[in-house]
């Protein structure tokens, strides 16, 4: 089988999305850590000249960038344990919610990058989007993908692990069990799923990392 390499940056949720997809499908790959904050490599600039970001999947020497594009590629190249249903309408819905996640990232991440009044506003905005996700995206399903984990579950996977860390750092809880019972239940199911459970970044290392990132965001905002 041709070589599969993943250029990533710990603990990016965008990168983890791709890792989960590869692991769920049992695809062997080589992971290469990139320093995207302070020292982007020649390799990264060569493989993703347009955005210069991770994740980048390199398969048989050919690079693919943008996590949503990578997930579609993985799905088509390794069809086992599918992330998308077979019927076109179901696929359109999975893609719709995946895109919703992409588009609403700034609103959802907002509370990590702000403080005071701005943070209150950002939290509210984030919760508005989560309300839509809870009621219309997830509904009564076990996973976004139905009975099995699908593409949209991977898109929102960060809610199941990264959110706790960010809550601890900021003191802001975006998803309370009483206000978002379905999302809360989904979070427990997702992070307990065997393949996912063994593929989560170390919590205490994340705390250190994101405390640092938050300090940087806040400093930048002030300048």
């Amino acid at each position: 089988m041709a070589q599969v390499t993943l250029l990533g940056a710990w603990p990016s949720p965008f990168v983890y999305r791709v890792i989960w997809a590869l692991k769920l499908k049992g695809v062997d790959y080589e992971y290469v850590e990139e320093d995207i904050l302070y020292n982007k490599s020649e390799r990264l600039l060569k493989y993703n000249p347009v955005h210069k970001m991770v994740p980048v999947l390199v398969h048989a020497g050919k690079p693919i960038a943008e996590s949503a594009v990578i997930l579609e590629y993985i799905e088509e190249t390794w069809p086992q344990n599918p992330l998308l249903p077979k019927d076109p309408h179901g696929r359109a819905l999975a893609r719709f919610w995946t895109k919703f996640g992409e588009d609403k990232n700034p609103a959802l991440f907002g509370f990590l990058r702000t403080e005071g009044e701005q943070q209150v506003k950002a939290t509210k905005e984030g919760q508005e989007q989560l309300r839509i996700l809870e009621e219309q995206g997830l509904g009564d399903k076990k996973f976004f993908g139905g009975d099995e984990i699908g593409m949209a579950d991977l898109e929102f996977g960060w809610l199941a692990w990264w959110l706790e860390v960010w809550s601890e750092i900021t003191g802001v809880t975006l998803i309370e069990a009483e206000s978002f019972p379905r999302l809360h239940a989904w979070i427990q199911r997702f992070k307990e799923f065997p393949t996912i459970k063994e593929t989560l970044p170390d919590r205490s290392a994340m705390l250190t990392h994101y405390k640092d990132r938050r300090a940087t965001f806040l400093a930048l905002a002030k300048s």
Binding site: K62, E66, I70, E72, Y73, T77, H89, R91, I132, Q136
Partner: protein
């Protein structure tokens, strides 16, 4: 049973146009419904409750939203005719990557060309041309973005062509002077009936934008 296909759209929308082109490429019969975006229909609100935006394709009563997702859907359902995406997964990934680039880089820049003035507009023009130049580079010497056949990525970009006259007039610049190869590509696409019949008259788009600017108070 015959398929019932309805498209909720707005004639000047570059996103709606993408769906029109895709449907035309596949020869699909459908009912076009023009939405007044300042007075959205109950049907639109029901079929796209999350975003309340057009285009929405309603196929046998079920809605599909987001223009590129709709184009994917059309390609998957009516798969025996005029394939829009290439068959090779890597080529497909490239098409998706560049369509995403268009939606991220081009869309925001073009909006400021017709809503902003002065320095903000100049910056937008610069970003817009830069993005077009990158796309022109991607096109290279090929007749269409993915090679010999018109497809997904051409559809994603060509719709903006109907707005070029508006950008050039309001921004006071020539896109052809900056990106001649891209204009050749656009004219090639416009020779296809599926494109020329789906895109509005650029002059009508310009008049529509002047109206919008008045309403938004951004003259």
């Amino acid at each position: 049973m015959a398929d019932v296909v309805i498209l909720l759209d707005a004639y000047a929308s570059v996103f709606g146009m993408r769906v029109r082109v895709a449907l035309a490429e596949k020869g699909i019969k459908y009912e076009y419904r023009e939405e007044d975006l300042r007075n959205k229909s109950q049907l639109l609100l029901k079929m796209n409750p999350v975003h309340k935006k057009i285009p929405v394709l309603i196929h046998n009563g079920k809605p599909v939203c987001e223009s590129l997702i709709i184009v994917h859907y059309i390609d998957e359902v009516w798969k025996d005719k005029a394939p829009l995406l290439p068959s090779d997964p890597y080529q497909r990934a490239q098409a998706r990557f560049w369509a995403d680039f268009i939606d991220k880089k081009l869309y925001d820049a073009q909006k400021k060309i017709w809503t902003a003035k002065g320095e903000e507009q100049e910056t937008a023009k610069k970003e817009f041309i830069e993005a077009l130049k990158v796309l022109e580079g991607e096109l290279g010497g090929k007749p269409y973005f993915m090679g010999e056949r018109f497809g997904f990525l051409d559809i994603a970009l060509i719709t903006f062509y109907s707005w070029f006259h508006t950008y050039e007039t309001l921004g006071n610049f020539s896109i052809e002077a900056e990106c001649p190869k891209l204009i050749s590509w656009a004219k090639r696409c416009m020779q296809k009936e599926s494109v020329s019949k789906s895109l509005p008259d650029p002059k009508k788009v310009y008049e529509y934008i002047l109206e919008m600017k008045k309403k938004l108070g951004v003259e």
